[in-house]
């Protein structure tokens, strides 16, 4: 069986699956295989679900439902109008507002989208690095808080010249996140502590830590008992890129640079090779001489650092004052960004822009139509759930499955067949697992 036999080609994906069973990289590779069509369809389904929610909660629509059988056209016309208003507001709030009073206000939304996207992209990159290295960093939230805390404290408590101050504050944020991620990383490397659990716990600890800090006068430096800090000095703020009322700041440049750096790190550097190797198969990596413990710790330190950078950029570019809610839901949003971006740098960048746009659009939608901005969370989660399960999207749209064979009607049969192919593959390739008893 040393010559490549035709059966290998069909049986192969199953064989690879078998080895990867349950591993994170399997999930991610699956994501990576999904086409852009699936992504677009997922977004479409999410918008449909959002539409149903908007209609169901709209009082005008409910009213027309009351006399639906008398005059159904009212229901459809009202529904159409409500949806048109809502989704056009979503789009205008995210990209270009053709209804705005001035040209400046028209293009403001796209800049707001970028402002929102900065922390999402940076934190998303941090999560993505961990994903590709086989780790689930659920701790974005805590790392962002620490980054914002470090960056903010340096920003308002020190007096430094212009360039140096902002650089130091940004680096401080990086350090804060790196420390918080590093705790999880070092514990995983040294004791094998599951990073999912540790980072979840660290999120909560960070929330309590900042709550405590904001009660300390030496920390907030405001002279009031409000749990809010002094604003960062102008010298520590990320400078604006556009004049006037635009909030777009230099954070977007940091995000672009970080995207490129992460690409180079993962694809071109030896360190990235180590990261990917431990993500795919830590045992083989160890056998090949890679220091798995060191790489593990580094992944979460660098990932945490990027999340910290996100927190710092958010605080120094937009928020200026530290509060208990500084991180909002950024940490969890970043996970969805990384997933939607398939853990690739460019994908994460684009996913960050998309979700940033949904947020700025959602604000306008709420202001103009009363549909709550919280719907953005629903859209986000539905999109990510769907892209994680391409077969589901294919089923919804009656698309053929990608394995090239015609689809069988009975799902149970289909599942069996897939798994059989795996079994055959493993047998055919003589991939025995006799060593499993080890």
């Amino acid at each position: 069986m040393s010559q490549p036999s035709p059966e290998n080609s069909t049986a192969e994906p199953g064989g690879a699956l078998k080895e990867a069973e349950g591993r994170l990289h399997l999930a991610l590779r699956e994501l990576g295989r999904t086409s852009w069509v699936i992504t677009l369809l997922s977004i479409f389904v999410a918008l449909v679900i959002g539409a149903v929610l908007i209609l169901a909660t709209n009082s005008d629509v409910r009213e027309t439902l009351g006399y639906f059988f008398a005059r159904p056209s009212d229901f459809f016309v009202t529904s159409f109008e409500v949806l048109r208003d809502a989704y056009s507001a979503l789009f205008r709030g995210a990209v270009y507002d053709w209804n705005a009073a001035s040209p400046e206000r028209s293009i403001r939304p796209i800049t707001e989208t970028m402002v929102n996207a900065v922390p999402l992209i940076l934190a998303g990159l941090g999560i993505a690095i961990a994903f590709r290295s086989g780790m689930l960093n659920i701790g974005g939230q805590g790392q962002i808080i620490l980054g914002a805390t470090f960056g903010g404290f340096i920003g308002y408590s020190l007096q430094l010249p212009m360039g140096a101050h902002v650089t130091l504050a940004v680096l401080g944020g990086l350090l804060g996140g790196a420390i918080w991620g590093g705790i999880a990383g070092v514990l995983k490397a040294k004791t094998g502590a599951n990073e999912v659990i540790v980072t979840i716990m660290l999120n909560n600890i960070a929330l309590l830590l900042i709550a405590w800090l904001l009660r300390q006068q030496w920390f907030v430096q405001t002279g009031s008992t409000q749990p809010i800090s002094a604003p960062v000095h102008e010298s520590a703020q990320l400078f604006g890129l556009l004049p006037g009322s635009f909030r777009l700041h230099a954070g977007i440049l940091i995000a672009v640079a970080a995207t490129f750096l992460v690409w180079w790190l993962m694809e071109r550097s030896t360190l990235g090779f180590e990261f990917r190797a431990i993500g795919e198969n830590p045992d083989a990596a160890r056998t090949a001489g890679i220091n798995v413990a060191k790489a593990t710790a580094l992944v979460l330190i660098i990932g945490g650092g990027l999340c910290g950078l996100a927190g710092a950029a958010h605080l120094l570019g937009t928020e200026y004052r530290l509060t208990g809610g500084v991180a909002g839901s950024l940490g969890f949003d970043a996970i969805t960004v990384a997933l939607l971006g398939r853990s690739k740098p460019l994908g994460t960048f684009l996913a960050g822009l998309l979700f940033g746009g949904l947020q700025s659009g959602g604000v306008l939608m709420q202001a103009q139509t009363g549909a709550s901005v919280d719907i953005v969370l629903v859209l986000q989660s539905v999109i990510v759930l769907l892209i994680a399960a391409p077969p589901l999207v294919r089923t919804i749209f009656f698309l053929p499955s990608t394995d090239g064979t015609e689809k069988k009607k009975n799902p149970r049969r289909r599942r069996l067949r897939d798994s059989e192919a795996e079994q055959a593959a493993s047998e055919d390739k003589a991939e025995t697992t006799q060593g499993a008893g080890r």
Binding site: E21, L187, S329, I335, G370, S381, E422
Partner: protein
């Protein structure tokens, strides 16, 4: 055939040197003794910080019991000093025993924990002029533990069958939401209680659907489901519920049911047996799970599926079905726990009101090593530390309440890092089963 007679004998002889070597070379485990030593030194620190001449008063009765226990007043410094010396002795004993490879019984950590807590309470209450209200402390513990215990039970049923559940938080929140809405709409807290499990089960159903049918990474699904539930409930809260709160979000409370006789027992009576039906349900669920998981056919099979699904399959157990049913069942338990936030306490629904309790429940499950009994104690421990934090912040103590609130998380990190014993999850958890 002739080998048969000699073979066992040979093996027995050969077995000897290995085991002998084992006891000699096994590395000494220093993690526990060192943990104890650090805690004992902390206790000593409390003692040294206790103001001289101060007194601490404990009150342990509500005045309703058959026998009422008089308040206890102790001299603060003397007792903390004595207690911390006892702690140091216990830590020393554990060091000594570790060095000699002697195993200590379960009494050691229990006694140590009790003394440590006492030391802390006496220190915290010293000379404040206020009493430490034991009843409030303990009933607060139970109150705060209820959603944790429900959540932890949900987590462990799912994980025993091999499905990791990070969505407990979302299940609690969904349960709280549906309980509030149903109770408000039908103006009956009991309707809310009946509705809540369906919300939790629905989230569980989604989780297991994506996990079993599409083999999506379970942690990812869990995280995303949390976001989905927060989004949905917040969206509905800020639209429908806020538009018409009298119909959709009016407060309803489950009545307290006092169990005769039992509620008269000193200390535990008023704490445990003057509660709502939800809390009694919790007692039943914990006890039932503890028995069923280890003594019933259902328990044996669910554990088999979580440990080695292929082996379960070869004896005719339907692995996907077992996982689906049990994860949904588990979800309904968490849904019930969610009801505690609204109808259980007589509150209206508020955005994100589960406030991370689902994650503490997850922590309790891990700390309890996937056992109902263990998870119960872990949840109570977490509830207790929060309760102490709340009680102490009202009487004003030097320890910031945030520190006490952090305790569950810190303890859990120590647990997964191996300082509080070996944590061993079900072997096949998180692994999709493909034949």
């Amino acid at each position: 055939m002739s080998e048969q007679s000699t073979a066992p004998e040979t093996t027995a002889v050969q077995a000897e040197p290995l085991e002998q070597a084992e006891t000699q070379l096994q590395p000494i485990k220093w993690k526990f003794p060192i943990t104890y030593l650090v805690l004992a030194l902390m206790g000593l620190g409390f003692a040294l910080l206790t103001p001289a001449g101060a007194e601490t008063e404990f009150r342990s009765s509500t005045g309703n019991e058959f026998i009422s226990i008089p308040a206890v007043i102790v001299p603060s410094q003397a007792s903390t000093l004595m207690l911390s010396i006892a702690l140091l002795l216990l830590a020393g004993l554990s060091l000594f025993c570790a060095g000699r490879r002697i195993r200590l019984g379960i009494w050691h950590p229990l006694l140590f924990g009790l003394l440590f807590v006492l030391t802390f309470l006496i220190y915290a209450g010293a000379g404040r002029g206020a009493v430490i209200p034991m009843i409030t402390l303990l009933s607060g513990t139970l109150m705060l533990s209820v959603p944790l215990i429900f959540g932890a039970m949900c987590g462990l049923v799912g994980e025993r069958s091999g499905i990791i559940n990070i969505a407990i938080e979302g299940q609690l929140l969904a349960g709280a939401f549906l309980a509030a809405v149903a109770a408000s709409f039908f103006t009956s807290a009991y309707v809310g209680l009946l509705a809540a499990p369906f919300a939790g089960a629905a989230v569980g159903g989604l989780l297991v659907w994506f996990a079993v049918k599409y083999h999506v990474n379970q942690i990812i699904v869990g995280v995303v489901l949390n976001v989905l539930v927060i989004g949905l409930t917040s969206f509905l809260y800020s639209t429908v519920l806020s538009e018409n709160p009298e119909v959709w979000n009016a407060r309803q409370q489950l009545p307290r049911i006092e169990i005769p006789v039992l509620s008269q027992i000193p200390i535990i009576g008023p704490v445990m047996f003057n509660q709502t039906i939800l809390v009694y349900l919790m007692y039943v669920i914990v006890i039932a799970l503890q028995i069923l998981l280890f003594r019933s056919r259902w328990g044996l099979r669910i554990r088999a599926v979580g440990e080695h699904p292929k082996a379960a399959d070869t004896v005719g157990i339907n692995v996907p079905r077992t996982r689906v049913i049990n994860t949904i069942l588990a979800g309904s338990i968490a849904g019930l726990g969610g009801a505690y936030f609204t109808v259980g306490q007589g509150l209206a629904f508020g955005q994100e009101m589960s406030a991370g309790q689902g994650f503490i429940a997850l922590a309790a499950m891990i700390l309890g090593r996937w056992n109902p009994k263990g998870a119960l104690f872990a949840a109570l421990l977490f509830g207790f530390s929060t309760s102490v934090g709340q009680t102490l912040s009202t009487i004003g103590t030097p320890v910031p309440s945030e520190i006490l609130l952090m305790l569950p998380y810190v303890i859990t990190i120590f647990a997964v890092a191996g300082f509080v014993g070996r944590v061993r999850p079900p072997a096949a958890e998180g692994v999709p089963y493909v034949k």
